[in-house]
């Protein structure tokens, strides 16, 4: 096979939430874990599923579906945890299924149409990659986290 010489291509970890496909830049992903025991943290924001023991470290686990305001999965899923390297500590994202790691060239990425962009916060959507007949939404996990911290300032007891 000929080595692919694509102009400015990046590798993405592709995962599913229901029928939608999303991609994280592979350089932000630390590892992919099977679902393990997650300890619930009561009183934390809704999309925080809890904490998990990742080789002696307490890693916060975020439910991607809840984060994106989606309901629980309707079909059986092969749930996985995508652990990313946030600047302060690793954080895990629960996704329905991790499908593959693929090269996506910059040329095939398009901006998000505005009406859709406003639905999911446009700040963390990097673009939409077209691949054959699939559409993969490329998102920046670090940005998702940053926004999470900001939106965490919920009602506090006085």
């Amino acid at each position: 096979m000929m080595p692919m010489v694509e102009s400015e291509s990046k590798q993405y970890v592709v995962f599913k939430l229901g029928r939608e496909e999303y991609g994280f830049d592979v350089s932000t992903v630390r590892e992919i874990q099977s679902m393990d025991q997650i300890t619930a943290v009561h009183g934390s924001v809704g999309y925080v599923e809890g904490v998990m023991n990742l080789r002696g470290k307490l890693v916060t686990i975020i439910d991607m579906r809840k984060r994106f305001g989606m309901g629980p999965p309707t079909e059986k899923t092969e749930t996985k945890i995508v652990v990313i390297d946030a600047p302060d500590a690793p954080v895990g994202f629960i996704v329905d299924e991790v499908t593959e790691v693929i090269h996506i060239s910059k040329d095939s990425v398009e901006d998000v149409p505005t009406p859709i962009a406003s639905k999911i916060e446009s700040e963390y959507v990097l673009g939409i990659a077209k691949r054959d007949d699939r559409l993969i939404t490329l998102v920046d996990p670090i940005k998702i986290l940053d926004l999470s911290v900001g939106s965490e300032a919920g009602p506090r007891r006085s």
Partner: protein
């Protein structure tokens, strides 16, 4: 290229050395204000600036060198008796030292070095206040005054061929010797060293001080020093004492020696190491458990050896994280001096117990609170000299910071001999702020009134001063101390002063905890907060104003259902009895209803992600022997709610 690398390495050396020099200079400067005639102090400051100037010059940090030089000019005038180191002159020098400090910080964080032209002008202006015109004489290096009466000694230092920046090392050597002796001359001299002339050996003639031998030992122990000869100047070299690094042996720990013999390790690495040690401690318990169950002598022997080694490693790793309290209190004299000056007060600060070592995390956490307490002492506690004299006190107030070891805690007391806390004033503010009604305030005990001081937004001082009004209140002091598992107490008597006592743990990484089960999950409660455990019959639970209470030997305690606290749906349970953990935080007690009491064990405290910090009722987590997580209950916030 190689030079660039050296520069990086020496930037670190520069930062460490400069910080130490600035600390010495600041201390000396504070002392000099009290004794303007003390020439030894002037020399100390001069030497410090000179060291910084020398190193900065070599590293091409012109602005730093210029600033240090400008301070030196003022200092030489002081040394010649042409200027008095008080008033505007002292201010200029302090300002200069501050500027150097921020420059050093910039070097440390590889930022652009700020340059303060205004400062140079301030310093030059200070120079114009000379009482008599001084001859336009360049400063002589510190202590280069001729005093030929006493016989001198000479030291010859040969630096290793691989010494990267011999001039930096040479200046460090001169400085070290200067600590114990008076350097008369050196070859090459400081100026030549600064211009980086090549030299094979450094020859220093000095008047030996009492402790000069300590310095010699430390110098001999420095890296890059190949050989060192020392002896009386007028005797032949052959009779001199010869020392090489290997023979020097362990030198007394001073900053310089420490620099030569230490490895810098990032705090994150130590945290990682501690994580692993935590795992090791947990695995050890499992190993011991398994080994005792087996009839295998060898296995038991090995496991008991591992048990011992693990304990050793654990205590050593915890020891590595300890730093002396001086890292915090070292800055205080200067700070208090500035505060007092701003507030028109006269204050003397006495610090004791700075050598006590605490976990790095503890030290970091108490820095702000302690600074706040000092600000309080100066601002609110100590009266103006006039008021003090009227009250029959010495015009100069006294603030003491005393640290001492108390069993498993460290006690830090910050006390002043000022006016004390006025209970009536607190009453008035409490009423004004709607925290109490007038009759409540009138009947309130002084203990409750003092507790109000720790509430956010409470201040008895009517005008907000520049220093105290920075949004850090006593509530932050209490929060930080309690976060560390410590507590704060206040003792005050009107007219005689106030003492704040901070009780702190030495370390917080590994604690003793009680494990409990709530809704299928295990939680840990720090033993420090646990009073006892108790089993109650359902019928014993009474209700007072719609809140459930239980009694412990006659004392009525609120019963807090942890499931209710966490908002977990309570299945209609019909158990006839309930397990309660009696807990205490400060002076509040309560019974926590939990599903099971699982016993106590040592746990390694791990912090939670910042996204989970501030979750009510949870202060951290730990990993149990089974690999599952137990969250640590934050008793204070549970009782507060």
């Amino acid at each position: 290229m190689a030079k660039e690398l050296d520069m990086k390495k020496y930037a670190r050396l520069f930062v460490t050395e400069s910080r130490e020099s600035l600390r010495v200079a600041n201390d000396a400067m504070v002392g000099l204000e009290k004794e303007p005639e003390n020439r030894e102090l002037v020399d100390q400051i001069f030497r410090s600036c000179h060291t910084i100037k020398g190193m900065a010059g070599m590293m091409n940090m012109q602005s730093v060198a210029d600033t240090a030089h400008a301070i030196e000019d003022v200092l030489s005038a002081v040394r010649e008796g042409e200027l008095s180191p008080t008033g505007a002159v002292a201010e200029a020098i302090f300002h200069g030292l501050d500027t150097l400090d921020s420059m050093v910080s910039a070097v440390e964080s590889s930022k652009e070095i700020p340059f303060d032209q205004g400062l140079i002008e301030q310093l030059q202006k200070a120079l114009t206040q000379k009482s008599k015109p001084a001859p336009e004489k360049k400063e002589a290096p510190a202590g280069k005054r001729k005093r030929v009466e006493t016989p001198t000694k000479t030291m010859v230092v040969r630096l290793g061929k691989r010494c990267a920046l011999p001039s930096a090392r040479a200046l460090v050597i001169l400085k070290e010797l200067g600590k114990t002796s008076v350097v008369i001359d050196s070859n090459p001299d400081e100026q030549e060293i600064e211009h980086e002339h090549m030299f094979e050996e450094l020859q220093i003639t000095f008047e030996a001080g009492e402790k000069f031998h300590d310095s010699v030992k430390r110098i001999a122990a420095m890296t890059d020093v190949d050989q060192l000869l020392v002896g009386d100047t007028d005797k032949p070299r052959e009779s001199w004492e010869k020392m090489s690094r290997q023979e020097a042996g362990p030198a007394a720990p001073t900053p310089d020696a420490a620099l030569a013999k230490t490895v810098r390790v990032g705090m994150d690495k130590l945290d990682d190491l501690l994580d692993d040690v935590g795992e090791l401690v947990i695995s050890r318990s499992r190993l011991l458990e398994k080994a005792t169950a087996q009839q295998d002598g060898d296995l038991q022997e090995i496991s008991s050896l591992i048990d011992k080694l693990t304990s050793n490693i654990q205590s050593k790793v915890l020891g590595i994280r300890m730093i002396p309290l001086d890292m915090v209190v070292g800055r205080f004299p200067r700070m208090v001096r500035d505060l007092a000056k701003n507030g028109g007060k006269e204050v003397e600060l006495v610090v004791e117990g700075g050598d006590i070592e605490l976990d790095r995390t503890v030290v970091d956490r108490i820095t702000e609170p302690m600074m706040h307490l000092l600000r309080n002492c100066v601002d609110h506690g100590i009266e103006t000299p006039e008021e003090r004299e009227k009250a029959g006190k010495k015009p100069k107030g006294l603030i003491r910071v005393v640290a001492s070891k108390q069993q498993d805690h460290v006690l830090i007391e910050v006390s002043d001999d000022g006016r004390g806390i006025d209970a009536d004033k607190i009453r008035a503010v409490a009423v004004k702020k709607g925290m109490m009604t007038e009759s409540e305030a009138a009947n309130a005990l002084s203990r409750d009134l003092i507790d109000l001081l720790f509430k956010p937004g409470f201040s008895t001082k009517t005008e907000v001063t520049e220093v105290s009004g920075r949004g850090v209140g006593l509530d932050v002091v209490r929060n930080n101390v309690e976060y560390l598992g410590g507590s704060v107490m206040v003792n005050t008597s009107k007219g005689a002063g106030t003492t704040f006592s901070l009780w702190l743990p030495f370390t917080l990484a590994i604690i003793e905890a009680m494990l409990v089960q709530i809704a299928g999950q295990t939680y840990a409660v720090p033993m420090g907060a646990v009073v006892e455990t108790h089993k109650y019959e359902r019928v014993e639970v009474k209700s007072v104003r719609e809140r459930e209470v239980v009694q412990l030997r006659g004392e009525v305690l609120p019963l807090i259902s942890m499931k209710g606290f966490f908002g977990i749906e309570k299945p209609a349970e019909k158990t006839s009895s309930l397990n309660a953990l009696i807990v205490q935080s400060r002076d509040r007690r309560a019974a926590l209803e939990v599903d099971e009491l699982l016993g106590h064990q040592q746990i390694v405290v791990k912090s939670l992600d910042r996204r989970l910090k501030g979750t009510r009722g949870i202060s951290g987590g730990t990993i149990l022997g089974t690999g599952s997580i137990a969250l640590i209950l934050d008793i204070d916030s549970i009782l507060g709610g």
